[in-house]
Amino acid sequence: MTGRMKSLFRVLYGCLFLSLVAGIWVHFYLHPEVHFFWEAFPAFSALYGFIGCVVIIMGSKAIGHYWLQKREDYYEKPKGKQREGK
């Protein structure tokens, strides 16, 4: 990783930390309207973003590898010669 990348990442981590602090501040000082119980948890969005992203990647890849992903010439090949992409 180059030095520029490193400083970029430092800024990014700083921003993320700031967003968490801001979440707590918003929650305890501004008392925004809460529609669902999970919104009462100040860092819910952060957690949902992280877990959601992992689930989307792993879940979709699993569906793809075991079922939906096929060789690029899948539709061109005559019947009976189709095989899995992996």
Binding site: S19, V26, L30, S45, V54, Y74, Y75
Partner: protein, 617 residues
């Protein structure tokens, strides 16, 4: 004094004059048409032609065709279509082939026809022109894949068009009205009319709602570089417009929309082709709008927020999705490649394209200060106001996936991912960059100053996108998505695969039909053919010498009996004789005397007489 001029006609009539111009004049003319249409729209909104809300009616065969229904709903869509068409034409202005420009403007014009249509016949007419003109934007790519995808595209839209026509006729038969208003959908006493089901089916096909969406992800990535940019905007968003007109507050649409939003995201993970990845994100984003229409129950605060949100999101989506397709198209234009497995490290050659693309990516992901943030959150907010927790989670989850793919996976795989660029490249032509620049400016301008579209919306907007809670929660959501992406980025490299989608059913059905024709049907045909030819051959053989033929047949029958009854030796002798007779066939024909001929003729006549008498009775 004309009291109205249809902005769609500026494009449709203007398209036919394109071949008359050459060089710079042609370029100027192509860009002038959207400007004229925008001036027309502004004059319309100022009530210069006639006050807003008044309709432009054309009497036709005893019906009043409403070509121009001007209200806030139609004007919002018309504005964004016209503004987007300017940017898109600027992007495509270097194309020499006039047919592409003609098809593009027919497509834009017919979409405006749909938007201003106040009755179902007018709607149907423009609906069909829209499908056909879009087809040429695909076919102009002139590759085998494009021809195939285009054919499948038009077949699906044929089906949709027929559903629409059937629905319109049934609706007219039942109600006697051809007005494009909210369609009946069940009640306390009545069931759901078939006409409404058919019309809804036609609308959701154009809106690309799964499982009827595969035409989009199949065809758009095969279109020309510039044609695909046009395609992203008009068909699906005009479908959202007619859904708002015809089925606001239909609960089914909430679920379909939320499923769409997630569906597109899941498939985008698996995609290797960058334009197909973006096409799946059209489906995902249109899902927010469909869900918004579904939540749009008239007369409630949440419903008004949902309709406003769906429309604002359509407006913003057209701009940022065009920008994203322009970016991906620019890569395809200069490198001839569109697969992640064949791309990487291009930042060194195309930094401007990258940064402009990223404006689109931030917008679609809903980063604060970009236009997606001010519109998408309205739909999500409407789901919260309607107390739909699962829908809320699905829509928020789709936001994560959107940023993951369009904002991280695609740009990472295209412009970075490798130390050294995979191929030589350069920035695309200046007009393409200029078009991307203008679109990127609009995306950020609306993001910073959302009032400009909020004021256009049909209901008063009571929503503050930049409330601290919204900004913080969106920043957390997207920021931590990045962390997860960075940890798992190794899993997101492109794979040399295609992904099966619901087009599998009709693609395979097509193959099976061909197999059925080639194999069982052909075998059967050959069998029948062989038998008929055998019979015909026998008659030819028989007619050469009927007397001897009869004799041979008689002897053959005798031989069979002999083989069964007598010693093999005698039977063999008989067989030898028969072979000789067959060889000498037809031999010398028996000479008939005149009398014998007369007898035969009389015989034929008497047979004819008997037949005649029988038939007479």
């Amino acid at each position: 004094m004309i009291d109205w001029f249809h902005p769609g006609l500026i494009y449709i009539l203007g398209a036919f004059l394109i071949p008359l111009f050459r060089g710079t004049i042609k370029k100027g003319y192509l860009l002038l048409l959207p400007v004229l249409a925008l001036i027309n729209l502004l004059l319309m909104s100022k009530g210069v032609f006639s006050p807003e809300g008044k309709e432009w009616i054309l009497p036709f065969l005893g019906y009043d065709l409403i070509l121009g229904r001007v209200d806030k709903l139609s004007m919002v869509f018309a504005y964004v279509f016209v503004i987007a068409s300017f940017c898109m034409m600027l992007y495509a202005i270097h194309i020499k082939e006039e047919g592409q420009h003609v098809a593009a403007y027919l497509y834009v014009g017919s979409t405006l026809g749909v938007v201003f249509a106040g009755d179902l016949f007018t709607l149907f007419f423009f609906w069909e022109v829209m499908a056909w003109s879009a087809l040429y934007l695909i076919w102009y790519r002139k590759t085998k894949a494009a021809y195939g995808a285009g054919l499948r595209y038009i077949l699906v839209h044929f089906f949709g068009g027929l559903c629409l026509l059937g629905g319109i006729l049934l609706h007219f038969h039942a109600t006697g009205s051809i007005a494009l208003e909210t369609f009946p959908w069940g009640g306390e006493s009545s069931g759901i009319p078939l006409s409404s089901v058919l019309i809804l089916l036609a609308f959701v096909i154009n809106a690309a709602v799964p499982p009827l969406h595969a035409w989009l992800s199949d065809a758009y990535p095969e279109a020309t570089v510039t044609g695909a940019v046009f395609l992203t905007a008009f068909t699906t968003k005009s479908a959202i417009y007619v859904l708002i007109r015809g089925f606001p507050g239909l609960e089914l649409l909430i679920w379909l929309g939320a499923i769409m939003a997630v569906y597109g995201v899941v498939f985008a993970v698996l995609e290797n082709d960058i334009r197909r990845l973006l096409a799946y994100h059209i489906i995902s984003q249109v899902g927010y709008m469909v869900a918004g229409v579904g939540m749009g129950v008239m007369g409630t605060a949440a419903g008004e927020m949902a309709i406003n949100g769906a429309m604002a999101h359509a407006f913003c989506h057209i701009l940022y999705k065009a920008l994203l397709f322009m970016g991906a198209g620019a890569v395809l234009e200069v490198t001839g490649r569109s697969k992640l497995t064949e791309l990487g490290g291009l930042y060194r050659y195309m930094p401007i394209t990258f940064h402009l693309y990223m404006v689109g990516a931030y917008s679609i992901s809903g980063f604060p200060l970009f236009n997606g943030f001010v519109s998408k959150t309205m739909v999500v907010q409407a789901s919260a106001m309607s107390h739909l927790p699962i829908i809320w989670l699905m829509l928020e989850g789709a936001s994560i996936g959107t940023f993951l793919h369009t904002g991280l996976k695609l740009p990472w795989g295209t412009w970075f991912a490798r130390e050294n660029p995979v191929c030589k490249a350069k920035e695309p032509p200046k007009n393409m960059l200029a078009a991307m620049g203008i679109t990127a400016f609009l995306c950020t301008f609306i993001g910073v100053y959302p009032k400009i579209i909020y004021d256009l919306l049909p209901y008063p907007v009571h929503y503050e996108p930049y409330a601290p809670a919204h900004v913080v929660s969106m920043s957390q959501l997207l920021g931590f998505t990045f962390i997860a992406f960075w940890l798992l980025r190794g899993k997101l490299y492109g794979e040399r695969t295609i992904t099966l989608d619901t087009d599998w059913f009709y693609r395979m059905a097509g193959k099976w039909v061909i197999w059925f024709c080639e194999k069982p049907l052909m075998t059967f045909a050959q069998f029948v053919d062989g038998k008929v030819m055998g019979v015909a051959g026998f008659f030819v053989w028989f007619s050469r010498n009927p007397a001897l033929a009869l004799h041979i047949k008689k002897e053959e029958a005798k031989l069979k009996v002999k083989r069964f009854m007598m010693s093999p030796k005698r039977a063999e002798e008989h067989a030898q004789v028969l072979v000789e007779k067959r060889k000498s066939y037809p031999g010398e024909l028996p000479k008939l005397t005149l009398g014998a001929s007369l007898v035969l003729i009389l015989l034929a006549f008497s047979l004819y007489l008997i037949l005649y008498l029988l038939m007479e009775r």
